[in-house]
């Protein structure tokens, strides 16, 4: 097999400076937003006693789910032995860690008492899936860190496969945990379902790969490193496959709930007359985020960079809408204290809850995204993460294409 | 470290008890308790371990529901709070007051009073005017 040559990204170029300063500015604004929320109190946000989790949680869940998905590329290369994916293992691991860091930062800075984060480490409630996630998240950093070490240090090569397997299992458990945060909420008809865990895993496949593709295209487009057309095509096919899986679990999620009489109202709300949520579900999540890109990919014989960028962007937009519909839409529907009865009170019982995200909340979320990009750029500038060339456009193209194709199917 | 500083400061103040003239400029101003003759533990002990007592007590009071301990925070406040010229209580975490004075000097943030009442009556009758 051909030796893969990894190179650091070129630093100190005007483009590099512009990117890094721009990201730092976005992060600073996000931090200022968080500080404002914490000192003033959450009344300055759109979040209320009805919509208790808002847009910061949408950003955070999106990034945390994407984090485990971003690791897939590495897993396909190592655990499932697709050699064509191996060169991208390092980037995959780095992106996974960065996304998780970004998501957790947003989540933590939205806490009512972020200064008490240490309490989450010192006090552990064994029955809380949230508490378990604290360990799954910190463990993810360690496991993926070790995995990266075995990738980058040839003297640790014999640990490469075990580390890869551990990381793959860990990411499955982690996303199961994230999905179960919602799945275990027996009180809320929009959540409370075992399907949330596999649904979140399928979501992670889509989000992670889409973000991975976008980063890859940006880096290889920006630095002029070659990428084989087959790598592009197969990545698109793989993304379409993941979208199909996501769509499948979405169908299972809703069909199951519709069949359950007490959940009829909330399903009707999300799928038929929920206003913004219905629109986001059908228009953005299902059509823009899955049906359209799948159609574009499958009718195209050779997906190019432009189309891959387009479908990956659509996947990100659709994915964000999906998380928004789950997190916000699920809360917008009031709790059913008396199923079948009409209830009202001074505490907004029985009413559809409105939510308008405020500027500081959105700034916090965007700051998290900026942190992800900042970390990826910084680390891959300092250390050799990206292969010099991706695939070989001439001699090795067929072999690479086949290997990736098998992974995709 | 902060504890050491606090101890030194407060012991210094204790040595000059009663005479404001004796207090060093810039040092925390330890106000005298408004009632009682002695604390629930000797002063040097309180200086070093008051937070341990409070930390232990909060578990007992809140989680176990035990009332009437001399280590209750409300008990600290009832003695160490001060009144202004009009006879009204001054919040114990106000600048220059018993808790705040020392903690400001030692640069140790007090987390108690984001939730706990800062005067013995805790609220009084003018609640609606509070905000």
């Amino acid at each position: 097999m051909k030796k893969i040559e990894y190179r650091e990204l070129p630093a100190w170029t005007p483009g590099w400076w512009a990117l890094m300063i721009g990201l730092l500015v976005v992060m600073a604004i996000g931090l200022a937003g968080a500080l404002y929320m914490e000192t003033e109190g959450h009344h300055v946000t759109g979040m209320t006693n009805q919509i208790v989790w808002g847009i910061p949680h949408v950003f955070a869940v999106f990034m945390i789910v994407a984090a485990s998905g971003a690791l897939n590329v590495a897993s396909i290369g190592s655990v499932f032995g697709r050699d064509a994916y191996k060169p991208l293992g390092r980037v995959s691991g780095l992106l996974a860690i960065s996304l998780l860091a970004g998501g957790l930062c947003v989540l933590v800075l939205d806490l009512g008492k972020p200064d008490r984060l240490i309490v989450a480490m010192t006090h552990f409630n064994i029955t809380s899936i949230f508490a378990w996630n604290v360990y799954l998240y910190t463990g993810f950093f360690v496991v993926v860190g070790l995995y990266l070490w075995t990738m980058m240090d040839w003297t640790k090569k014999r640990f490469y496969k075990p580390a890869a397997t551990l990381a793959f299992l860990w990411r499955l458990i982690l996303t199961t945990g994230t999905g179960s945060i919602f799945g275990f909420l027996v009180a809320r008809d929009a959540y409370s379902s075992a399907v949330m865990a596999p649904l979140f895993i399928s979501m992670s496949f889509v989000f992670g790969l889409a973000i991975f593709n976008l980063i890859l295209l940006a880096v290889y487009g920006g630095s002029g490193r070659p990428v084989s057309p087959d790598v592009i095509h197969r990545k698109a096919r793989l993304l379409a496959l993941f979208m199909a899986a996501d769509l499948y679990f979405v169908v299972v999620q809703h069909i199951t709930a519709i069949y359950w009489p007490s959940r009829d109202p909330v399903e009707r709300f999300i799928l038929l007359d929920g206003g913004i949520y219905t629109w986001l579900f059908w228009g953005v999540q299902v059509f823009l985020g899955a049906v359209l890109p799948m159609a574009l990919i499958y009718r195209c014989k050779q997906v190019g960079r432009g189309l891959l960028r387009l479908v990956s962007s659509l996947a990100v937009v659709g994915g964000f809408a999906q998380v928004y519909v789950i997190v916000i839409g699920g809360q917008a529907w009031p709790l059913e204290l008396f199923p079948g009865q009409q209830i009202s009170s001074s505490f907004a019982d029985g009413r559809i809850h409105s939510y308008v995200p405020s500027a500081p909340e959105i700034a916090l979320g965007l700051g998290g995204i900026a942190l992800v990009l900042f970390l990826v750029t910084l680390v891959s500038t300092a250390l050799p993460f990206f292969p010099q060339a991706l695939g070989n456009a001439e001699a090795e193209t067929p072999a690479v294409g086949e290997a990736v194709g098998q992974a995709a199917e | 470290m902060a504890v050491m500083v606090l101890s030194a400061v407060a012991l210094g103040s204790a040595a000059h008890a009663g005479s404001d003239a004796g207090a060093h400029a810039g040092w925390p101003h330890i106000t005298k308790p408004i009632k009682g003759t002695h604390c629930v533990k000797p002063v040097p002990y309180m200086l070093r371990y008051h937070f341990d007592l409070l930390l232990h007590q909060r578990e007992i009071t809140l989680r176990k529901g035990v009332h009437g301990s001399k280590y209750d925070l409300t008990n600290c406040i009832s003695c160490h709070v001060n009144k202004n010229a009009n006879g009204q209580y001054i919040p114990i975490n106000a600048p220059g007051q018993f808790c705040q004075s020392c903690h400001e000097y030692a640069a140790v943030h007090i987390d108690c009073f984001s939730c706990h009442a800062t005067t013995p009556q805790g609220g009084g009758d003018d609640q609606t005017a509070a905000r």
Binding site: G41, H42, H43, T48, N49, V52, W53, L111, G112, K113, P114, R116, V119, A120, H123, F124, N125, T127, S128, F130, A131, V134, I181, F184, L185, V186, A187, L335, L337, F338, Q341, Q342, I343, S344, S345, S346, F347, D349 | I60, L62, R63, K64, G65, V66, H67, G68, S69, K70, N75, Y89, C115, A117, P120, Q121, G122, G123, G124, D125, A130, R131
Partner: protein
Amino acid sequence: MSDDRNTRETAGDQTGTGGIGRRAFLGAAGAVAVLAPGLGLAAHAFEARPDGVPASSKHRWGMLVDTTKCKSNCHVCVDACNKENGLYEEADPKDTAQYIRKLTVHDPDTGYTHYLPVMCQHCTHPACVAVCPTGASFKRADGIVLVDRHICIGCRYCMMACPYKARSFDEYTEKNQKWYNPRGLGCVEGCTMCAHLVDEGKDPACVTACNKTGGGAMVFGDLKDPTSEISKRVATEQTTQIRADLGMDPGVRYEGI
């Protein structure tokens, strides 16, 4: 006599509400009850827990609400709760904490409308306690579900998990809290079943108010004491828990829903 008593009596002096501490008052009330047993209202089936004694699992505090007696235009329970616990109407009602609220329940088929107060249901298997990552949400030995604000990080997962919408998030910097109900920015809060009163052998504020000036719809007592009024009524009358299907076994029961 403990120093604690002094604290409370000082508090009484200062607020000018009669100059007697809660426990002293309780003693007086008890004496009245003995002298005039017919008064009923002042007579309690449970006693103050002495200083130094922890809450015990020998008790299981509960409430019974007879919704047929809950009137449409009455909200004394809500007012009493707000006053007792030092809650205010915030600038934005959507961000205002409500420990107890009055629910209007309308049956679209029969047109029957009735009313009931809903507060923390103090469940045997509370979802809020199960999901809390730090254990800040906890159940006391006597069944009262509370928030330990010392370790609450403000994640609001308990608010997501509670089927009764019983919890509020404190979104404002608080001042002038009641000494027995510390509350502040960034922590989740909810009905304490007036644990500070229950520990002193008194009914929660909402129950007292309902029986004094309201419809007399609420009864508070020890579900584990077979001689208590609540136990007797739960044993002989048809009582219901809200969303009993969820299996959390609320300590608050209702009649007529």
